[in-house]
Symmetry: C2
Subunit: 146 residues, 2 copies
């Protein structure tokens, strides 16, 4: 198969964001120690929302250095960097409800403090095999590449 | 289904390591900026070997802060931390040949300098759903949990 066009990659990415429940979230501590976990998310057309424990290592790391998200398979990759906002789950009921609707899991029913990690993509890179490394950046500085 | 036993998780993990071609490699720059890419690997029973470009961001980050590897799916997770050695590909012909045999790709045929990232797991955590978070550590300090 030929490498996909930019347009096709964007369509595939939007479908993957809508249909996928989990992503790999990479963060790092301030001394440069990498951390990686899979977490559930929901996509609302503009942002990914992830709910996680307020005292988790992911949150501590993300506050300091942001996060990078991977989804799809290792041969159908979507890599996302973006602007991150971290909000107590009680402060954004509409996102929290959307998260519950998508994942079937409501952290508000559980013990402890929970936050929403809201990532607005600024760069999205998308590729399958090596022949798609060229043209892999389909969003740059928050704008879809034409 | 009931949560898997430690023994079953070890067996599943060894099979996944043997059968899987790619993993998610998370690293971080010394200022704590996370980085994440999927890379091909081969498992020899004791170590994962990954070949990548000597001048890549992954290698620069890994030299300073090590790496964390995720494989399997986000609902069939294997997370690996370990001791990392970085070797020019020409210095370890047997690992390089094993990598080529497993992946069908020989970096030595390409331009540029290449290295092998050799990760010897010291901790392995394995889980599917939330009910498997307890007991997820199946290797600790380099030893399989009994």
């Amino acid at each position: 198969v030929a490498p996909r066009s930019t347009e096709q990659r964007k369509a595939d990415t939007l479908r993957l964001l809508a249909e996928t429940d989990d992503c790999w979230v990479s963060t790092a501590s301030s001394d440069g120690t990498p951390y990686l976990v899979p977490l559930s998310f929901v996509w609302d057309g503009e942002t990914l929302t992830i709910a996680t424990a307020a005292n988790s290592r992911t949150v501590a790391n993300a506050r300091a250095g942001g996060m990078r998200v991977g989804l799809g398979g290792t041969r159908d990759v979507v890599m996302i960097d973006g602007e991150l906002a971290i909000t107590p789950i009680a402060d954004d009921r509409s996102r929290a409800d959307a998260f519950v609707a998508a994942t079937g899991w409501d952290p508000r029913d559980e013990e402890g403090a929970w936050v929403l990690l809201v990532l607005r993509p600024s760069r999205i890179q998308v590729w399958r095999e090596a022949d798609e490394l060229a043209g892999r950046t389909i969003m740059r500085a928050g704008s879809w590449v034409a």
